[in-house]
Amino acid sequence: MLSRVADSLYWMSRYLERAENTVRQLDVTMSLMLDTGGASDELRWKRLLASLGKPDGMEWSDSLDAMARSLVFDSLNPISVTFCINGARENARQVREEISSEQWQRLNRLFHQMHSPHAQAQFSASINDALASVVDGIHLFQGVGDSTMIHGQGWQFIRLGRYLERAYATATMLEVYQKELFNPQERDHSGYQYLEMVGLLRCCTAFEAYCQVYTADVLPDRILEFLLLNRDFPHAIRYCVDTIRSAIDSIQNTGGRRSPEELTAGIGRLHAMLGYTTIGEILNGDTAAFLHDIREQCLRIHELIYRYYVHYSIQSALAV
């Protein structure tokens, strides 16, 4: 597979995952704000921005609607849903011949949906519906991709993009939320704390899955354990890292002329870290540092993917 194509597929996938993440977090935050008794709107909004990576130029203002709109429609704001969908489509457009027509049509429809005048109107009428339809579009794209695309290298790069982005975003979010999670303010010991915790789970579409594992007994350490270490839930970081590892293995198996030793070592290290650490150990140590370390390792894996598959030197390739 062409390096440029792999690059585009990887970013197409990352951008869509990022769009979905923004939509879900925005949706949860907006619905938490309906309950005025807990944290203030300003606090929640700032928390949302922090967990989306603190985009430049987005400050708290009194107009919630304007801020939400900017997060969805502002095509210059690099975490906005529109920006990400534009990015995904632009990447897909460059590899039209690699993805299936069905995939392209779903993504293209989503793109036109975001840019149609109806989108603004629907957003005004019902934010929830508008956001849900975006998530639907993304899920449809992913499902169609899984069922119409050859599960070869291209598909593996799509998985790589999706799960690396997810692992990074989830680690960022947990890093932001963990302080409040374990140091609740006094007045939060009513139902509000519960709402906040459920909100965090819902940001990862994890509430129902959590209940299946731990029952509705929602506790901060269990949330952290579930989102970090669960091996079966697709939004848990450990699951993401396992998938990244298997994607790299598959890519190696279909090509495999050059062995990406540093890359497999980097992933193996993160994999082992999540596989052999207990939640107790994490909580006894510096939780924030642990989460931060996960993010750093994700960045490193990203760089190594580039070094091995995309931006390698010609000398090194000719030497094989």
Binding site: M1, S3, Q105, G255
Partner: protein, 539 residues
Amino acid sequence: MAAPFPFAAGLWMPPFPHASLTPHVVKKLNNGQPGNHPSPAAPERVPAIPRSPMSAGHSVELETLFGDYPLDHAYDEMREANGVLRPHYRALAETIAGLPADELQRRKQSADISFLTQGITFTVYGRDEGTERIFPYDLLPRLITAAEWDRIERGLTQRITALNLFLRDVYSDAKILADRVIPRDLVYSCKHYRRQMRGLQVPRNVYIAVVGSDLLRLNTGEFVVLEDNLRVPSGVSYMLTNRRVMKRTFPQLFQSYGVRPIEHYAQLLLATLRSLAPEGRPEPNIVLLTPGVFNSAYFEHTYLARQMGIDLVEGRDLVTHDNIVYMRTTDGLKRVDVIYRRVDDDFSDPLVFRGDSALGCAGLFNAYRAGNVTVTNAFGTGLADDKAVYAYVPRMIRYYLDEDPILPNVETYLLSEDKERQHVLANLEKLVVKAVGESGGYGMLIGPQSTAKQREEFARQIEANPRNYIAQPTLDFSRAPCLIGNHLEPRHVDLRPYVLFGDKVNIVPGGLTRVALEKGSLVVNSSQGGGSKDTWVLE
């Protein structure tokens, strides 16, 4: 980035004189002559989707349908001069007349949506970045009879064969120049002449593997060649997608007409490219080289690559080492054997052609010279595309093949000839003047639509550089019915069939019919309000 516009030909004619028209209105269906068409179609009366009760049962009368359908001296594809339907158009007209009101519009909308979601769009230059438009599409097919097609096919085969022999000759012994059939200075002064190609043996002596000639139909009913488009002709993806949408829009009509298939074009193209692979490469790696996503024909490049199952590469994906071209893959470098090039000569190799191009691949030409990679179309084929060289094609056909041309040229005045130049300068207001190396409707003067000042300006330019211009009469080319609003109106059309030349000449029966959708317009270029139609070649 200067990239070739997908629709290179500019077609111009004066607007038809509305004032002098006597509209002929077909009053009833049955005043058409008894058709001898082999399979008159059963009218398609049942709409595929339940219609609203409002429109149910109300058929469009032919009078309304043809309400304002003027006929004049131009050839009408559907109707004879006296207003009678041509036999092969009867089933089509009946079907449309038999559809409930609004049904045509509904089908048109569903076709438009289909184009948009499939992303069958082109990029418009000179506007906001990323402006994409669907290529406007007219719902009614353009019909070509078997006899008409036979002539086109033979004519194009003859023409491509001669043009290829010409290129081979000019880049080797140049006998045709020594025999003074074509003036030497005309060839060597052509801006698309590539001296780098002199003495170079190209695989199987095929210079032009992919051609998209522009044909017009004159008021005599005869097809003539307007341009040959030997560099990077485009539009074939629209031909293929139009057909797919058309089959969905009028399934029964399509079936009843007995239309010859075109869907195997991609397969033929792949076979053509494979047949041109360098010696000793039995499993050639074939790629399509695109200028990239900002090129207006990018959709087509992806479409063809996907249909052929080959990699779509950009210049930055390619590297050369020891005169071998490689592409960068996730698994290291992979050798490339055949390049179907959709990048102009100028931008293909910065070491040999334009040094400021970032679209090509440095070292590509040397690898090509060494015979390690086939690039098609070959470099320098634009020479035979030059509008002044075009005037000599009939002479080439006689010189190389000793045959009379089957498809005539449009009459062309060479302004480097004193006598012809005087004639043209004296009659500028009646003629179309074109710069020889330009395309896409640029660098043209349309006499009848020009101002005195423009004519003065052009006269000055012609005097300063006569070699750079040719003149042609304003052509009166044919019109075909198009759906405008909820009725039919005639619009000017041309025809671009796609010719492949590998082991032998292959032409899929059909082509892209381009339409000047603006009323009275003679410009079919997609950049200037042009659209397209599906083209049905009948059995």
